[in-house]
């Protein structure tokens, strides 16, 4: 649909065309923590309904970069950001932007499963309740839908009132995904979502990510190169705060342009 629209409206200038083609755009982004520069001049465009993997050695800035998209770094003291980040053509670092609105649109799943010490139902309903939704039927329906989407419904449907902390690690992480989906964001940020999980749970989450791609734009930070190769459409390789290479995953893993990318991917460093 995007393609048709771009073709039909000839009077659009180039920048607008790009805006329609990309869900997320960053331009010349620099991030500082005090004197330390964590991100250096990163520009990148991400297409809707794609899975993009951020890879790179520890401390390369990939998590910092991910957390720019829902402004999670704002809580860190001495954090400073320069450059432009646009989601659907809106600059999210404008003063006028409402953080709460932004985060409804950009969901996040964290490295360690972090369910609230509440019931399974309450965990998923939380995002709706804080928006002021009171309609119990609507909440129940959205909770069920989110749990089905996260492939957890069949395992928990009889125990919705049980504490979320009684679930296994893999189930907890799927609960956290369900909780995020219930708010109906359009972008999903995942910060090493499987690093604390066993291989079977990991496989389940990867399968889930693959299915979610139909409806969401997904960005995933991972330490696991095989994971990046398995699930992503695009891969970005970060090193020392710089974006070294960003291309189709196939290209990055078979025929990267840069020597450093190749060295990292083949396990020669990092």
């Amino acid at each position: 649909m995007n393609v048709i629209m771009t073709e039909n409206t000839e009077n659009l200038n180039t920048e607008d065309k790009i805006a329609e083609k990309y869900k997320l755009q960053t331009k010349d982004v620099n991030v500082f923590y005090g004197d330390f520069q964590a991100i250096k001049e990163v520009s990148m465009n991400i297409k809707p309904n794609s899975i993009t993997a951020f890879i790179g050695p520890s401390g390369c800035g990939k998590s910092t970069f991910l957390r720019l998209f829902n402004r999670m770094n704002d809580y860190i003291e001495d954090f400073k950001m320069e450059g432009k980040i646009k989601i659907d053509d809106t600059n999210i670092y404008k003063n006028k932007i409402q953080l709460e609105q932004l985060r409804k649109q950009v969901g996040m799943v964290f490295q360690k499963p972090n369910p609230f010490p509440k019931s399974i139902f309450e965990n998923v309903a939380y995002g709706l309740k804080i928006q002021g939704i009171k309609d119990k039927k609507l909440i129940a329906a959205r909770v069920e839908k989110a749990l089905v989407q996260a492939d957890l419904w069949n395992e928990v449907k009889d125990n919705l009132n049980k504490s979320a902390l009684t679930l296994s690690g893999g189930q907890q992480q799927r609960l956290c995904i369900a909780r995020t989906l219930a708010v109906e964001p359009s972008i999903l940020l995942m910060d090493e979502p499987t690093s604390a999980l066993d291989p079977i749970s990991t496989a389940k989450i990867e399968e889930l990510i693959h299915q979610l791609k139909k409806e969401y734009t997904i960005i995933i930070v991972t330490h696991n190169m095989q994971q990046a190769a398995r699930i992503s459409d695009y891969t970005a390789f970060f090193y020392m705060g710089e974006l070294i290479e960003f291309d189709k995953t196939k290209k990055i893993f078979t025929n990267p342009d840069k020597k450093r990318t190749e060295n990292y991917i083949t396990g020669r460093f990092g």
Binding site: Y75, R103, P115, F116, P117, Y126, G127, I130, R179
Partner: protein, 292 residues
């Protein structure tokens, strides 16, 4: 040589631990022994049902209820002051205040607990009571209201400091999860952080109650020394602790029944604080399990 040194150190550490236990056991057994001989002369049913406490008068009554209500009334007033203020402070410090501010203000707050209680007592008597009398015409010079309020101020740091520790110990990941779904700071504080820290907050409240029940000087000075079965905060009352002070300072003959009343009162007080401390210990243990 080295072995002997090790041996001496180990045994001396052990003996200091044993001394503490021995002292505790000693206190409890003296309390129990004297209270037991008190209850040989006064029926335990009268002790708990008689509505008058007049062991020092000619017409003697030994009902603990007036002292107990005096204690609970002042404690209740104190908690009504300390709980909302202490909790607000702890939520502000843990969720809103910048790190540097938190670091300075916390020790300052804890200073409140370091003020000698006799100072608080006079503060209640000569400042708070006259001040309150401007608004409450019938307020007597000695009353449980101002004693309770000042005691509440004294225990604010018990509530705020321990609650703040509990709130601060809630993992950052839970806050991030909440913010990540579009919650405001206020929503995150009240819907995620406070519930997650609830057991720690409850422990802080119990310890504050325990402290208020055992507090002596403030109530002895400002609440009066008239055992009276009432829930009216404007009249003089006497708490268990204030009664014990009164008798200990007076010229009651050693070994008399009047003398033994302080042990009966003391063991009642001990039962309360022991119960509260056990409760907080239990909750704290459960709390620890939850985060490990």
């Amino acid at each position: 040589m080295r072995k002997i040194k090790e041996f001496v150190i180990e045994k001396s550490l052990l003996s200091s631990a044993l001394v503490t236990i021995a002292v505790t056991v000693g206190i409890i057994s003296v309390l129990a022994f004297e209270a037991f001989s008190f209850f040989q002369e006064v029926s335990i049913v009268d002790f708990f049902t008689d509505t008058q406490w007049t062991p020092l008068f000619t017409k003697k009554h030994y009902g603990i209820l007036p002292l107990l209500t005096g204690t609970l009334l002042t404690t209740f007033i104190a908690i009504s002051v300390a709980l909302p203020i202490g909790l607000s402070i702890s939520i502000y410090l843990s969720e809103y205040a910048p790190k540097s501010f938190r670091k300075t203000i916390k020790p300052l707050l804890e200073l409140l607990a370091a003020v000698p209680t006799v100072v608080y007592g006079f503060f209640a008597l000569v400042v708070v009571t006259p001040f309150l009398q401007q608004f409450i015409p019938g307020l007597s010079g000695f009353n449980s209201l101002s004693a309770g309020i000042v005691m509440g101020i004294m225990i604010i740091p018990f509530v705020s400091s321990l609650s703040e520790d509990a709130l601060f110990a809630v993992p950052k990941a839970l806050r991030e999860a909440s913010y990540g779904m579009g919650a405001t700071r206020l929503q995150t504080a009240f819907k995620v952080v406070v519930p997650a820290a609830s057991s720690g907050i409850i422990v802080s409240i119990i310890l504050a109650i325990s402290r208020a029940i055992g507090e002596t000087m403030i109530v002895a000075i400002a609440a009066g020394q008239q055992p009276r079965l009432t829930l009216d905060p404007t009249v003089p009352v006497e708490t268990i602790t204030a009664y014990i002070v009164q008798v200990s300072l007076g010229d009651v003959p050693h070994g008399s029944l009047e003398y033994k009343t302080i042990f009966a009162a003391g063991i009642t007080l001990f039962a309360f604080t022991f119960l509260l401390n056990t409760l907080s210990f239990r909750i704290r243990k459960k709390f620890r399990e939850k985060y490990d």
